[in-house]
């Protein structure tokens, strides 16, 4: 049993990295724009499909393909922000964003169904099937690479937010939107870039998701509830919090499945959220803490 628990912890850490990659964009967008992007799940799936197309039709490795899919998704994110989000009235932005992004999700799902049908797909590569044997555990390369990608991208995101002028503008907008406008920050440009970055990072999450799961256009619904839990648990707006929350939640879920039952694993996943919010209503690293970073 102890070996099984240890295995569950290791698997949970690696899988948590994948979920952090998928959730990072969601928390960033909310932190800056107070937009709840319900389309995040389908955007992950879209990222998976983009990687799939590049691999199947052009023979491009999924990781190499990120050099194409991330910019494509960035531009898509900028486009979504400009066409749909910017038109929302600031007073009702958060509430209306749920409806608008849900509509965007339905449109994207419809288009994916039109082009790809409901057939299940998955990405294929040598590192998806093979593992490295370490201390009695088989660690799949794809999860190791995915976790590494999560650390690199989230680290890069952190550097961008804290070491670049645009990053300062974004953080200023998080702290005080009106104040940021008053000192000459172009909020519309900041919002567009933020949404673009949020969706661009999701391309990476989508690629890893597509490599570790079978997916079709309907797969987004299963994802969005879990991603929302992760970003709320980690603290809305905290990218680092999303990583820690993802790892913690998935580890708890996996250990529960081993020690108790898979039936209760999902319940524990959501139960952790309730427990944390009772103690820390802003999540583990809520916006108050993020502003203090």
């Amino acid at each position: 049993m102890s070996t099984q628990i240890a295995k569950a912890i290791v698997d949970g850490i690696l899988t948590g990295g994948v979920y952090a990659l998928m959730a990072a964009g969601l928390t960033l967008i909310f932190g800056v724009m107070e937009i709840i992007n319900i389309a995040q799940g389908i955007l992950v799936v879209l990222g998976a499909y983009l990687s799939y197309v590049l691999q199947v039709h052009l023979g491009i490795d999924p990781f190499i393909g990120l050099f194409f899919t991330i910019p494509i998704m960035f531009l898509l994110g900028v486009g979504i922000e400009w066409v749909f989000i910017r038109r929302l009235r600031p007073q009702n932005r958060t509430a209306l964003s749920i409806l608008v992004t849900f509509a965007v999700a339905i449109v994207i799902e419809g288009l994916l169904t039109l082009f790809f049908s409901a057939d299940l797909r998955t990405l294929n590569a040598w590192y998806i099937d093979e593992s490295v044997h370490v201390f009695g555990f088989y660690l799949p390369y794809i999860y190791l690479f995915g976790f590494g990608l999560a650390v690199v991208l989230l680290g890069a995101l952190y550097l961008f937010l804290y070491r670049t002028r645009t990053g300062f503008s974004i953080r200023a907008s998080v702290q005080n939107r009106t104040g940021a406008e008053l000192i000459g920050i172009d909020i519309n440009r900041v919002s567009a870039i933020t949404f673009g970055i949020g969706v661009g990072v999701t391309a990476a999450g989508g690629m890893v998701f597509g490599a570790t799961n079978s997916f079709n256009p309907n797969s987004g619904y299963d994802l969005i509830s879990r991603l929302l839990v992760i970003v709320v648990l980690g603290g809305l707006g905290s990218v680092g919090g999303a990583l820690i929350a993802a790892v913690a939640a998935i580890v708890i879920e996996d250990v529960t499945a081993v020690v108790w039952s898979p039936v209760w694993a999902s319940t524990m996943f959501f139960g952790v959220l309730i427990l944390v919010l009772l103690i820390r209503p802003n999540g583990l690293f809520g916006q108050q803490a993020a502003r203090a970073q």
Binding site: R87, A118, E130, N216, I250, D254
Partner: protein, 425 residues
């Protein structure tokens, strides 16, 4: 006068929402409307409309699509040969999104609003059970091909007819084969993992009874919610048990995830069988990788090279319509096709679309289909269905049937011996 900002925002939201709804209608219903077979309104009268609810989206979408192919192939074949009762047939397919609530609503609308002449069943025991009550309320015959779980036939309904194998016995041939092995070869331990689904769970329960009676110890036995998306912990549990054989109550998504995990963790059971998933042809191969299909088993009552009446024509028609090879054909396709065949034969026998007469005819007739002969007992289960055990070998599904000593023998013209133990990944 320029509209206030609030009004413009509401307008934008309304436009987006309408666009989303329209595109959704196009995406999810286009297959429905496109799925309607060609109906030129022959000289025999208006077309016979057949209402069908299928899972074109949602958890069952892969199977729903295959069923649609089966129904459409049958409809096209029927219309090419003059239709039914001299009238063309037209399918009215609507999407239930794999939802038990939606499927019931769909059949209610198809019958009471659209006034279809006939109805065909949806995919899965779960949805068939939900829909059968509604269909029975209107007195329609409910011929279906994918609702074989025991719970479908314990409601006291007399209008449900399953043309396929009663699923509870799907794994019996496999279990008897293992149980009958000599002591030195017989596996010692078994792991069971199934969705909490009325299709998968009864099969594993029955197989476990047989194997435990033969002394094969159960070292892992878990039921997981059908809504599960992360199969990692379950796969990890099976792997940790180090069971000699694995019986999985799955559909395509979960068996694909299990196989991936087994490959990654270098876990090689001596035998691996799944209730469904490996029977999905090209989709299964694409999802697990061609190299990883070797030795995986699945029960079924149909195979592409079967010499049942009309099967070769159906296979040829499938390839002409959808491409690929016979091995790419999902087993859902002949199930859907057989539903059409049985319904058509019964309608022709009574020369009428009267539902009461149709139900009476279905209870007494014997029918020939691409899946083999069909005869229904009083509960609507097919008493003549037979379950083969299929094994993937060299990217082809080879059918096996038990001999007098329960050993699995290839069904001619196949000659390949069953692989046991399963080759390592």
């Amino acid at each position: 006068m320029r509209k206030p900002i609030a009004a413009r925002s509401v307008q934008a939201v309304a436009v987006v929402s309408l666009a989303a709804l329209a595109l959704t209608a196009c995406a999810s219903s286009s297959k429905g409307s496109a799925g309607s077979s060609a109906s030129s309104g022959s000289s025999g009268g208006p077309p016979i409309t057949i209402g069908v609810s299928l899972s074109l989206t949602g958890d069952f979408s892969a199977d729903g699509k295959a069923f649609q192919q089966g129904y459409e192939l049958w409809a096209n074949e029927t219309n090419a040969h003059g239709g039914l009762l001299g009238r063309q047939v037209k399918l009215n397919i609507v999407n239930d999104a794999s939802s038990p609530v939606q499927v019931a609503t769909n059949y209610q609308k198809l019958i009471s609003v659209d006034h279809v002449d006939l109805v065909f069943g949806p995919f899965s025991t779960l949805l068939t059970k939900a829909a059968s009550q509604v269909v029975a309320r209107y007195g329609y015959a409910f011929v279906e091909g994918a609702g074989g779980g025991p719970s479908v036939f314990t409601s006291g309904l007399t209008n449900v007819f399953d043309v396929s194998l009663p699923v509870v016995n799907n794994l019996v041939s496999f279990a008897n084969w293992l149980a009958a092995m000599p002591a030195g070869t017989r596996p010692q331990t078994a792991a069971y993992a199934t969705q909490d689904d009325p299709f998968t769970a009864p099969q594993l329960d029955k197989a476990r009874t047989i194997l435990e009676a033969a002394g094969i110890k159960t070292v892992y036995n878990k039921v997981y919610p059908s809504e599960t998306t992360d199969y990692g912990p379950i796969a990890a549990g099976i792997i940790s048990s180090n069971a000699d054989v694995v019986l999985a109550g799955t559909l395509l998504p979960d068996i694909s995830a299990f196989v991936k995990q087994f490959v990654q963790q270098n876990y090689n059971p001596k035998a691996l069988i799944a209730t469904a998933g490996p029977d999905q042809g090209a989709q299964f191969v694409q999802n697990v990788g061609a190299a990883h299909t070797e030795g995986i088993m699945v029960p079924n009552e149909w195979y592409p090279t079967a010499t049942t009446p009309g099967n070769q024509d159906m296979v040829a028609a499938y390839i002409k319509a959808y491409g690929g090879t016979p091995q790419d054909i999902s087993s859902d396709v002949p199930e859907g096709y057989a539903v059409g065949e049985v319904t058509a034969q019964a309608v022709k026998n009574i020369n009428s679309l009267d539902q009461t007469k149709l139900i009476a005819e279905l209870h007494k007739g014997t029918y020939q289909t691409v899946q083999g002969p069909v005869k229904f007992d009083s509960t609507g289960q097919n008493t003549l269905a037979f379950s083969y055990v299929f094994q993937w070998q060299k990217q082809a599904l080879i059918p096996y049937q038990p001999d007098s000593s329960q050993m699995l023998q290839p069904v001619p013209p196949a000659t390949e011996a069953v692989l046991y133990p399963k080759p390592a990944w």
